[in-house]
Amino acid sequence: MYNSLTRLQNVFGFFTTVAFVVAAIIAASDFAVPRTPSASLRTTNVQVVKGRPHYYSSKKEEYAIIRFSLDADLSSLFTWNTKQLFVYVTAEWSTADSIATQNQTNKAVIWDAIITSPSSDHLARIGPATLKKLRKSAAGKSVDPNRGKLSLKNQRPKYQITHPSGKLANTDDVTLRVHYNVQPWVGALTWNQDTTFALWQKMSQGVSKVFALPAVKKKDEAKAKGR
């Protein structure tokens, strides 16, 4: 500490230590807040189409478009340390055609969204007018109780599902499941849990009823039905 440079170095060194300890305490404080997520999920319209699902698809294949309704209350996941919440819906089914494909679980994401907390609204991918509206909705609060409450009706999926075999029609035992990923300002990433841990409960429901992917939709069929 005998000259200015050493004092600068020492103070900076201790500052990084203090910053690390404070960040660790902030991350640990999340465990004191209970998590009570809940969701109900159901399909509203399922179609299987034969065509090119992506702009880069080189040949025609069967792909599924699964529209769904989701009512969720994930607001308890937001704390002062939450930067944003990543919510996504997956469709899952298992294939057991042959010995080789037994026990294979297929999972594909059909929809996702990023929900920012008021402290990170400036990072959301929205224009200035929408940002103003979003900030107003939070009404100056740093933790907004309305964030995380989702009510999607007959939501069009973001992504279509394909299978490497190119065939998807008439698949049984498909379910939709909603997941979340809490992204904090400081601390570890956490996902939806399978079991309850202290104050953090696992999501109640959040899985849809089992449904089947129908046969490939034919244009003639729709006309023939006379709709």
């Binding site: 500490m1 200015s4 203090v18 404070v22 902030i26 704390t79 002062w80 340390n81 402290s119």
Partner: protein, 106 residues
């Protein structure tokens, strides 16, 4: 002349302080930064605002730098009293130098 200017500049940038000042600087740095850390967490937690916690933390740290790094006068209140050059008396004839059990002339 340039040498003298350079020497002055070097002294300012160097910022040497005496030993008591160094002890005070170390103590002050530890206490200030610990308090800043505690306050930033407690205020942020009470108001549930992490942005505020960050601002308090960084602002307090900047103040600490300002208080510790420059050689303020209160760090130089106890300058070292150096003895005069050559020892307490000019003649060192009664300082015997003994090497390998043989006395050498001083």
């Amino acid at each position: 002349m340039a040498d003298q200017l350079l020497e002055q500049a070097r002294e300012v940038v160097d910022g040497q302080i005496d030993f008591h000042g160094q002890r005070l600087a170390e103590l002050l740095a530890t206490v200030l930064l610990s308090v800043v850390g505690a306050v930033s967490f407690l205020v942020g937690y009470a108001l549930q605002d992490i942005e505020l916690a960050l601002k308090i933390g960084l602002g307090g740290t900047a103040l600490t730098f300002l208080a510790i790094v420059p050689p303020w006068p209160f760090y130089n209140q106890h300058p070292v009293q150096w003895l005069p050059v050559g020892g307490p008396s000019i003649s060192s004839s009664h300082q015997d130098i003994i090497v390998d059990e043989k006395m050498l002339a001083a």
